[in-house]
């Protein structure tokens, strides 16, 4: 098993070298723990894919392996190279220990674009599980590879893949703060905002087109909504005092925010265009970090009304809060799983800050990280992984952990501190 892991890491390293020509700028991923058992899958190189530059099958394979649910098999050079149109020699693939197989091909089109075709096979049942043909330009290789990986993942696990989703995070380089957007694998990063003042708490709108965040560019925290399509920024909350902790309502129409305009830090509801302000909490405590439940019925939040910061919830229309966390003296940053069954949050465990999961049905609490300065957990939209910020060797890095705690990954940048991750929604 150890030898296998070592081989897998060496293989992944090679893949990353091939696919990350700008390694200085982008996040690279290291798998630091893997779940078991992982399904062995063979992704045979697609004849013709060399014309696309970035290796499309390498990206599919890396995506699947990163999930911790698959083990990519080495495929020796085959002659003739099989495609989705070839008859499948199941016995031969079985002999290579593959449970699943992806075959495909790439062809240049007369209009300068390319066509990628692929098919997925269940080698054990000796059956085709379907396939798709995509037309793409060279710029769309990564996006296409992620779509293929999503198809394979969904067919084999029964749940939607998140390889085509995007993540947002903040990088601090010297005295500059950059709000960046990248593919879920950390590649293809783009900068949405650069500032000399801090940026915190990015939150994706449910349609994935906008980010709400807090910027300190006016020497105090102000909440903005930023359109990723055209870069237009709107001030949502710039009241006297501090304005922070934006959270979208599931319909994307409203934001819950924390304001100090009436003294202290209290939670308010405001329309996404900054109109119609309404106060939701009424305490002498710090009430902050609001999050809507997926059904829009509840707002979970952090409050120290009981003497220590703990997580509470209240009806989204306002109303009497109920305490949710009881173990420990510091429980903050509530994040609900997409199915609403689990609450992730940060707990202080002696002097360590770690990610805890609370099963809301049986009240079981489990700490799922072994790092000690964790912040800002963020569920993947399929609920399978949690992205978080932590500190390794004095530097801010992103890390991801599966919601069963078994698979762990680290995403690090060669220069700069990375923090404040937010995993974006499924894009239809």
């Amino acid at each position: 098993m150890q030898a296998l892991l070592t081989r897998l890491r060496a293989f992944l390293g090679a893949v990353l070298l091939l696919t990350t020509p700008l390694a200085g700028a982008q996040l690279s991923i290291e798998i630091t723990g893997a779940g078991a058992p992982r399904m062995p899958i063979a992704v045979a190189p697609f004849p013709g894919e060399a014309a696309l530059g970035a290796g499309i099958t390498s990206i599919v394979r890396a995506d699947l392996e990163r999930s911790g649910l698959f083990r990519g098999l080495e495929v020796p050079p085959l002659s003739p190279a099989p495609t989705e149109a070839s008859p499948v020699n199941y016995a031969e693939w079985r002999a290579r220990l593959a449970d699943a197989l992806v075959l495909g091909s790439v062809a240049a089109r007369p209009d300068g674009r390319y066509e990628v075709r692929f098919r997925l096979y269940d080698v054990v049942k000796q059956a085709s599980l379907g396939g798709i043909a995509y037309t793409l330009s060279k710029e769309q290789v990564r996006a296409t590879a992620h779509r293929i990986a999503d198809f394979v993942y969904e067919k084999l696990t029964g749940e939607k893949g998140v390889f085509s989703t995007r993540i947002a995070y903040v990088v601090k380089r010297g005295n500059r703060f950059e709000l960046q957007i990248a593919d879920a694998d950390g590649a293809g990063e783009e900068t949405a905002l650069v500032s000399f003042e801090p940026i915190i708490s990015p939150a994706w709108s449910p349609d994935g087109r906008r980010l709400a965040y807090v910027s300190f560019e006016n020497k105090k925290p102000v909440v903005y909504v930023h359109s990723l399509v055209d870069g237009k920024r709107n001030v949502v909350a710039n009241f006297r005092g501090s304005n922070s902790a934006p959270a979208w309502s599931p319909d994307g129409a409203k934001l819950a925010v924390t304001l100090s305009r009436e003294g202290g830090s209290q939670i308010f509801l405001i329309n996404a265009d900054g109109s119609s302000l309404r106060r939701l909490t009424s305490s002498a405590a710090i009430d902050t970090e609001p999050r809507f439940s997926g059904d829009g019925q509840w707002i979970y939040f952090t409050s120290d009304r009981g003497g220590t910061p703990q997580i509470y919830r209240m009806p989204a229309a306002g109303g009497e809060p109920q305490r949710v966390t009881f173990e420990g003296s510091y429980n903050v940053t509530p994040r609900l799983s997409p199915d609403g069954k689990t609450l992730a949050y940060i707990t202080r465990n002696e002097s360590k800050f770690q990610v805890a999961l609370l099963d809301l049905s049986n009240r079981q609490v489990q700490i799922i990280t072994d790092s000690d300065r964790d912040e800002s957990p963020s569920f993947a939209p399929n609920g399978r992984m949690i992205l978080l910020a932590t500190v390794i060797g004095g530097r801010g890095v992103l890390s991801a952990v599966s919601s069963d705690g078994r698979v762990k990954q680290r995403l690090s940048l060669t220069a700069g501190d990375v923090r404040e991750p937010a995993w974006g929604p499924f894009i239809e």
Binding site: S201, K219, S242, S260, G264, I286, E289, Y330, T333, S376
Partner: protein, 179 residues
């Protein structure tokens, strides 16, 4: 230019002084002097320009010898009450705000890096609110002061140790034009 003029005037004054103290003048008669009251001696003061002491414009807010030039209040871990040692500072700023009703102040509260960034915005706010409350109790007007929080985002000290954290648990008082 101004310096040259002053230097010229000073030289002239020295020359005039020499002329009037000449010993060759005959002594004045005492009786005459007593009968006629002397004209008041006009000693026009020389305008002094001193370039060796930096703070200009005479603002007490910038004078390092004035308590008003101090702007930071430090806090204990997870606390927001103003320690006794900072009472005189808060009182001095309250007096300044009282005497200068046009003055505006921004108080930025800060927290150390441990824990949630947003909860730390809340802790910093609690600190700036406590300074604002103390200032208004001492007579400053509510609308002169805005209290905000920078959370853990603007540390003055970057080490991950208590020495540094203590410097970062801080409230800063800034006047209009300083931020």
């Amino acid at each position: 230019m101004r310096l040259i003029i002053i230097a010229t005037l000073a030289a002239a004054a020295v020359a005039a002084g020499c002329a009037t103290t000449s010993e060759e003048q005959p002594p004045a008669r005492v009786e005459e002097r007593a009968a006629k009251p002397p004209a008041p001696v006009e000693t026009k003061p020389v305008a002094r320009v001193d370039l060796t002491s930096k703070p200009a414009a005479g603002s007490p807010l910038k004078d390092p010898n004035n308590i008003l030039s101090r702007r930071s209040i430090y806090y204990d871990y997870d606390k927001f009450d103003i320690r006794d040692e900072f009472r005189p500072l808060v009182e001095a700023h309250a007096k300044y705000l009282r005497e200068n009703p046009g003055a505006k102040m921004l108080i930025q509260g800060n927290a150390d890096e441990r824990g949630s960034r947003e909860y730390n915005v809340g802790l910093g706010q609690r600190r700036s609110d406590s300074v604002k409350r103390a200032l208004t109790i001492l007579g400053a007007k509510e609308n002169q002061i805005e209290s905000v929080s920078l959370g853990e985002e603007k540390p003055v000290c970057a080490e991950h140790a208590e020495d540094c954290w203590a410097k970062n648990r801080r409230g800063d008082m800034l006047y209009g034009g300083e931020y």
